[in-house]
Amino acid sequence: MIAFVFKRLLSAIPTLLVVITISFFMMRFAPGGPFNLERPLPPQTMANVMKTYGLDLPLWRQYLNYIANALTGDFGPSFVYKDNSAAELIFKALPCSIELGLWALLLSLVGGVIMGTVAALRQNGWVDYTLMAFASMGTTIPNFVVGPVLTLVLAVFLGWLPAGGWGDGSLYYLFLPVLALGLPQLAVFARLTRGSMIEALTTDHLRTARAYGLPARVIVITHAMRGAMMPVLSYLAPCAAALLTGSAVVETIFGIPGVGRYFVNSAINRDYTVVMGTVILVSVFIIVFNLIVDVAYAYLDPRVRHD
């Protein structure tokens, strides 16, 4: 098991390196840097600026410096907000995104698994059809339509909830963004659960369990669930990474000061260090979650370990 974890950790290194390399070179060769002002700086000032940011070193030195710094979580100073480092700015926005993402993850996972299980138990009945129609709506309609439409109905027409903003970070403010962020994922979980649950319910060991006369609750929750959760688990990793690092769209719609909105704003302002820092951070999230899921997979299904 430890060897397995170690092997997976090693394979994450090239990915991370590629991300950092792409980030660095895109940053260096993108046209229109933060110092391309309308009124050019005097040469002496420009030279000083270059020196401060380490841009006068040869390219390979800059590259190695960037890697070394990025590995310690230092992405350099922000080019736009000059008093802050990029890392400071990113980590200031991260808690909002994580709070929003955790709620959305909870909603989609719990809601999706319950919906999928119910649909599987009532296979081909009207409950099943209704739930799956809802799920296919959820997977088809993107969140930049769901978000505004929910706001239009619940906030503008009915006036039950605030139309946006972080407020005090309570659920009253978070409800709509969580819904907009979570619903499409909930639909995916529901479909996955339904599919694997139907498969699990027809396996031999479940027939045996039924023959023993175990109560339906025990059969479904204890025995069928374990097998049915594997596909759900493997989708959990990309989903969690996407939800926790913030959805640019949902955060933009609802005006939430999280990583996603910050990322888009920085990209528009050409704040290269913040943009690239965010890209690296998101990659790390994805890699870590993939790793966690792989390990959990290996724990639940011993066949994976000997692959």
Partner: protein
């Protein structure tokens, strides 16, 4: 007349694979409905502008943010007020105003003799046109002018710049569909060539090429697309190249899998024996045989690409004004939803309907082309 039928005539001709697929597709009601809706949306977007007299970038200052309505504007009851403000702008006073059969007559007075060019103030508003001087009093202080009342129809209303939403939704449809298809073709090209090469060459090259795809898989692509678009400009061409460039990964995997099984087949061996080069074999024998699964995957990809483009446009990184895609229209709508909900409702409706239609048609095509994959 009653000649006996020969055996050959009573036997049905055997059906080709394509015919069978078409039969299966036609029997699938959801898929047929999806296809028809898709054709309707495409006709609406591409031929609709021929029937709408307003350009997508034509601004109507008199009709800013007017709601959707099937009766032409302006409402005759409001014309009096419009004429009054227009007269004020021309520094004359409106004495009387009447409308009859689409022609209006107004009497204007002023303290000083009126310049006949004052009629231009009336022509300048969207409500009136062809204004002429009918009669001028002897002292030039009173003037009777007449002209047509010009009516415009805005079935979907107008946006906050006074542009016809119907014309803009049609343009948005053109751009969204065009980007969807063009970007899918780009990724189709890259994916098929890459996958076929990797699969056919095999061995260490294959290993390396697939390793590369695997690494790209774990990159946060949405973020990279945003970065690329921001750094290298925001033209439509770039958008579909960028989207195409990130969507080819899955395609290359599918084609590689197909190629691996194809290259063991006799006709490839025969081609090799005839002395064809690797590239010739890939081009002539491998790629044409991967068409089935590739078509299926393209139908899955088109809605994804349309989504991605709309996502970029929604964030303001895609198509730039005065052009519009459904994404930018939805974004505009969500900014104005308190005052003008129709700006959100209509584009969202068309967008969602198209996505559903694409999904249904794609599912149907997959079932039709690959019946064992159900």
């Amino acid at each position: 007349m009653t000649e006996p039928k020969t055996a050959a005539e009573t036997l049905r001709p055997s059906r080709s694979l394509a015919e069978l697929a078409w039969l299966r597709f036609r029997r699938n009601r959801a898929a047929m409905a999806g296809t028809i809706v898709l054709l309707l949306v495409a006709c609406f977007s591409f031929f609709g502008p021929l029937f709408v007299s307003h350009g997508y970038d034509e601004v109507f200052p008199s009709y800013v943010t007017v709601g959707p309505s099937l009766t032409p504007r302006p409402d005759p009851a409001t014309l009096q007020a419009v004429a009054e403000t227009t007269a004020k702008r021309g520094r004359v006073e409106l004495k009387s105003f009447s409308v009859e059969n689409g022609t209006y007559t107004a009497v204007i007075t002023a303290a000083r003799p009126i310049d006949p060019r004052t009629v231009r103030y009336f022509d300048r508003v969207n409500e009136f046109k062809d204004t002429t001087v009918k009669d001028t009093s002897a002292d030039g202080l009173t003037m009777t002018i007449t002209g047509h009342v010009h009516q415009e129809l805005f079935p979907f209303g107008t946006d906050s710049n006074g542009r016809d939403l119907l014309a803009r939704i049609m343009l948005g449809g053109q751009i969204s569909l065009a980007v969807g298809i063009a970007a899918s073709l780009v990724s189709l090209g890259i994916g098929v060539v890459y996958g076929a090469t990797s699969g056919y060459l095999g061995g260490r090259v294959d290993n390396l090429m697939m390793r590369f795809v695997e690494i790209l898989y774990s990159l946060p692509f949405i973020f990279l697309v945003v970065v690329l678009v921001v750094f290298f400009g925001r033209s439509i061409t770039l958008i579909f190249i960028v989207i195409g460039a990130v969507q080819w990964l899955e395609m290359s995997r599918i084609v590689r899998g197909q190629t691996l099984s194809l290259k063991r087949r006799e006709f490839v061996g025969a081609a090799e024996a005839l002395g064809l080069t690797d590239w010739q074999i890939i081009r002539r024998h491998i790629i044409p045989n991967t068409v089935g699964p590739v078509i299926v995957y393209v139908t899955v990809m088109v809605p994804q690409v349309i989504l991605l483009e709309s996502f970029l446009s929604f964030l303001g990184l895609g198509v730039q004004a005065p052009l519009a895609s459904w994404g930018t229209l939805i974004a505009e709508g969500s900014h104005n939803m308190q005052s003008a909900p129709w700006l959100l409702i209509f584009p969202s409706f068309f967008f969602v309907v198209t996505l559903f239609a694409l999904n249904f048609a794609g599912d149907g095509l997959r079932d039709a082309l690959d019946p064992k994959d159900r």
